[in-house]
Amino acid sequence: MTRLELPALRHEADALWGFAERQFNLVKRYWAWEVLWLFYSLVSVLSIGYLASGLGLAGFSARDFHRTQLYLLVGSLLWSYLSSVFTDVSFAISWERWEGTIEYTFMAPVRRLTHLLGICLFAIVYGLLRSAIVLAIAIPLFKLDLSRSDLLAASAVLAAATVPLVGIGILAAVLPLLSPEKGDQMAMAVQGFLLLVSGVYYPLSVLPGPFQVAGRLSPLTYTLSGIRDCLLNGHHLGDMLPTLGLLLAMGAVLIPGGLVVFGWAEGRAKQLGLLKRSG
């Protein structure tokens, strides 16, 4: 099973598409929910934007008001994207548990990498799309000035961040496998921790030591600071090369690492009979 022949490769590609297509069909069927979620992420991004406006009015750092606003908005927008990917991927597994399809998916002759990649890639594309909609609303609303920002360099950072994000997504998918009942709540808790340590709304330096260490290990930290540098601090693609390299390297560790952890959790679930019980 290590060498892939061409027909086998075609089968994996077809299966990859099958997972993404399934997720797309589900989104289509539950579109009302999706609109609600979009509304939710929109209002949370907007409220952070207005938080910045409020700080400006209250006289806090009025000089740098636009900068502060952009700083916070970038954080909140990126967080809504990253957290939606995280949620969608772990949800994709727990969903199958409610529907009872999980055993069929795990029994199918498909590599686990293909399965998880299919789900992660869909979550990423869909998350980007949703964030683009929120961004399109936020730009005119807050009269954001992006004229001195290097959007190309920021996009490059975002693209490179996809790789470690797939790894984090795979780790998120492990949680509902570990505990049928509490997996979703665990995913929420882990997400909250990532929000705390990844420098979404403040620089890492304000955190106590151990949290800073955790923040340095999180690829989200570098994604956020890289994108802020491109949008706020006049950095260009050339300056971003170390960040891009670091993100890709983190992905190179996180994806295989995530697969190993997932494989362990799958084995444990099969040992303990956690996949499904009835029947």
Binding site: M1, R10, H11, D14, A15, W17, G18, E21, R22, N25, L26, R29, Y30, E99, G100, T101, E103, Y104, T105, F106, M107, A108, P109, V110, R111, G267, K270, Q271, L272, G273, L275, K276, S278, G279
Partner: protein
């Protein structure tokens, strides 16, 4: 029929960890318990033919099916499908099997076809002829022509079960694991499923393990019937042989006699 072995189990045992709380113990105190589903079980099933597995509720039938389906790992012993170990060579085993479980498991908001297409993609059979093949299968199972484009949640339980059967046939498995496939079907639908199974056997070589509580069905379809209890084989033979051996007119009476006897044995053991 050739002499290839489809399923081979040697000393396969499985138990599940459960937690027990005493009636008046403290709320945080739980005792770990082991629920035995399968005692060490040896079994050989040659390729081709239908093997019926019967047994009371909780006798380990579904556990056995799940072990063969690579969904549960045995605690000890080894199990193989067409010579491939279900744990060490699980990915290869998966290419040869499919399963129908008691509950039809689908994405209920998705249409029947969307569910089928998903399965077809996972099994590498989603070519241009896939839809036609699925339509033919559904027709043979007596499902109305418009079923394919209706959301699964609008189908009755029996109809969903038939779609699940069609899904498993669509992927042309060599080993078909049927866990109470006709539970919840009306008598006509049962016959349609049984007829489809028979014609499938005529068309290509397939080995079927059929767990069922419908003993007439077991008698009608199976070349060999195995009665399980706690993973122990209580009886093994063709339906006619079993009736003769236990001096009973049909399998139901054999079942009654054997399960009654195991109850009596249980009582003896616990005394």
């Amino acid at each position: 029929m050739n002499e290839k072995t489809a399923v081979s189990l040697s000393g396969v045992a499985k138990g599940f960890r459960t937690w027990k709380r005493g009636p008046n113990g403290a709320w945080w105190r739980r005792r770990r318990d082991l629920k035995v589903a399968l005692e060490p079980l040896d079994l050989n099933v040659p390729a081709g033919g239908v093997t019926g597995i019967i047994g009371p509720n909780g006798s380990g039938k579904s556990t056995l099916i799940r072990i063969l389906g690579t969904l549960l790992t045995p605690d000890s012993g080894s199990a193989s499908v067409f010579g491939l170990d279900v744990v060490a060579q699980a990915p290869s085993v998966r290419r040869h099997i499919n399963r129908v479980s008691v509950e039809a498991s689908f994405f209920k908001e998705l249409s029947c076809w969307e569910n089928m297409l998903y399965a077809a993609r996972l099994y590498g059979s989603a070519d241009s002829g896939a839809r036609r093949r699925v339509e033919q299968l559904m027709e043979r199972l007596g499902l109305p022509g418009d079923t394919l484009d209706r959301p699964m949640k609008q189908l009755s339980r029996g109809q969903q079960q038939k779609v699940a059967i069609a899904r498993s046939f669509m992927t042309t498995p060599s080993l078909l694991l049927l866990d109470e496939p006709t539970t919840g079907l009306d008598p006509r639908s049962k016959r349609e499923v049984q007829e489809l199974l028979r014609s499938l056997r005529r068309e290509r070589e397939v080995t079927v393990l059929l767990c069922t509580h419908d003993l007439d069905e077991a008698a009608a379809l199976s070349d060999r019937v195995i009665m399980l209890d706690y993973g122990k084989v209580l009886a093994d033979g063709t339906p006619a042989e079993l009736c003769e051996r236990f001096g009973q007119p049909d399998l139901e009476e054999v079942f009654m006699q054997l399960s009654g006897r195991s109850l009596a044995e249980d009582e003896e053991e616990s005394e």
